[in-house]
Amino acid sequence: MQKKSSLMKKLKKYWPFYFLALPGLIYFFINNYIPMGGLILAFEKYTVSGGIFGSKKIGFQNFKFLFSNADAWIMTRNTLLYNIVFILLGLVISILTAYFLHELKSNMSRKFYQTVILFPSLLSIIIVSYLANALLAGDTGFINNHILLPLGLEPISFYSEKKWWPFILVFVHFWQMTGTSCILYLANMSAIDPSLYEAASMDGATRWQSFFNITIPCLVPTIITLTILAVGKIFNSDFGLFYQVPMNSGAIIDVTQTIDTYVYRGLMNTANLGMSAAACFYQSVVGFCLVMITNSMVRRISSENAMF
């Protein structure tokens, strides 16, 4: 049979599949691929008549403005530092939480604690902001009214004092995310062969010796993979956490501004569109490079865990 007719025959045979795939593919084309092309905005002086693809090209001018400004440094520093803390502290917190859950003898208590700890991940960051506000608000907040006041201390106006926010944001992040991040470690711990522990305890190993010599080594592939994947996303931040939880307060912007909040603030202020587009380009491209680098590292360490 000739090649051409066999292709026609194939298409005829497979058309229902292409038809099923079509809505999703169209969606990805519009939602993901057109904006990739739209990154060209970073090199343009946007005008309404020119649109996204036809505005005047101005080379690297937007980037020059962006990086001549202290904002670029502050937002990069904040994004990186918060992410580094989230990754490192997250390892300790989620592995220990998973370990305590795993070691519980009573299945019912394990289920109870896990349900409770996982619950905050169901809440929107708006609700989380309300919870934080109920504790922190200057006039009606719980901390000022029911902790500091009875102790005879001065009330703190949290939303205008920078020094508290690194701690608050880190706490809120772990408050919401510990439940989801410990699940995978917990699943891995349940998969460790129990005879390893039995042999160790017969040889007189203490609990902490078996934790550091059996549990941790068994988790190493997961730890490496998750950490490297997180490093690949180190240029991204949870917009809601850094914008909503501090209630968009201007006084503390030095410690809450991340690349995502900068891009949003710039976008809403049309005079800043060029710089916002440049920051967006900076985030996308550096983020992509980091993902590629980290993925090739994962592939080298354990190829089955690589994303591609």
């Binding site: 593919l25 990805f28 739209g38 169901l122 699940i183 078996s210 891009v263 587009a277 996308s284």
Partner: protein
């Protein structure tokens, strides 16, 4: 392991109990404060033990049309969005399991690539507003960034690959069943667990989404529950003001703004609290499958 170490068990319980209290405390504060009277909140602040139980805030929510309206917007968006999203996701994921389909590898790559590189907010925002003009339409709440994600495609595809025996599909084909019939009558009914997993995750995303509303919605009729809460977070009087405009009878001073926004927050998280026990199993499965491998 077989050990008799009550000490360590107690230690685990203490640590986990502290964590559970840390999780539950702010939630209890929110719920109990929503039940105290406005004057108590102003006088004593948010408190775990309300001086006077007072459900005025809840009465206001249910008697006032705009909160109910926001609730309906969110319910509509969540239902339509979840169904559409599960359909689109399973359909595309299924075709990516058809081994000898020409172009399958390219399509898989095109889907996967969206996880690696993204245009980000500025180009997306400009595209949706200047090319598709979705500002202040219901589409803005349903489509941008929510409808379909590569991550869900990948976990659905691997579920299909591991759980649908090819022999069943083959015999259906021999019996002359159409490919659509096979997909809707055989593949989908065999995939209830993964549909529950991605369905719950999608419903959660739609229910909790507030960014699309922040970017694209200014019309009061399209404000969902999260967006309403968002407006009230920065402006306590938001609802009082909008009520003032809509009904002449409402006196702004009598609206319990502080307790009411807490009450709306409680009502806003209620459906997820109710659904959670039923879907926890699937939710946890989705988190475990997806955490490492896309």
């Amino acid at each position: 392991m077989v050990r008799k170490d009550t000490g360590f068990q107690v230690f685990c319980h203490v640590i986990l109990a502290i964590m559970a209290v840390l999780v539950l405390f702010p939630l209890a504060l929110l719920i109990l404060s929503s039940m105290s009277s406005e004057s108590d909140i102003i006088k004593y602040g948010y408190s775990l033990i309300p001086k006077n139980f007072d459900f005025t805030a809840y009465k206001f929510i249910f008697s006032e049309g705009s909160v109910f309206h926001s609730y309906l917007v969110t319910i509509f968006v969540t239902l339509v969005g979840t169904v559409a999203s599960v359909l689109v996701t399973t359909m595309l994921a299924y075709t990516l399991t058809i081994n000898d389909m020409p172009g399958r590898r390219i399509l898989s790559f095109l889907v996967l690539f969206t996880m690696l590189f993204s245009g980000g907010l500025v180009p997306s925002y400009m595209m949706w507003t200047t090319i598709f003009h979705i500002k202040n339409t219901i589409w803005a709440l349903l489509i941008p960034n929510l409808l379909c994600s590569a991550f869900h495609i990948m976990i659905t595809r691997s579920y299909f690959q591991n759980n649908i025996p090819p022999a069943i599909l083959e015999s259906a084909r021999i019996d002359g069943m159409s490919e659509f019939g096979i997909f809707f009558k055989i593949v989908l009914p065999l995939s209830v667990p993964i549909i529950a997993t991605i369905g719950f995750m999608k419903a959660l995303m739609y229910w909790n989404d507030w960014t699309n509303s922040l970017y694209y919605i200014t019309d009061k009729n399209l404000v969902g529950i999260q967006a309403l809460l968002n407006n009230m977070l920065t402006n306590v009087q938001y609802l009082a003001q909008s009520m003032d405009a809509s009904s002449v009878a409402t006196d702004m001073a009598t609206v319990p703004s502080l307790s009411m926004r807490l009450a709306i927050a409680v009502v806003g998280m209620l459906p997820m609290i109710i659904l959670y026990p039923f879907f926890q199993k699937y939710y946890m499965k989705g988190l475990t499958v997806g955490a490492v491998k896309g």
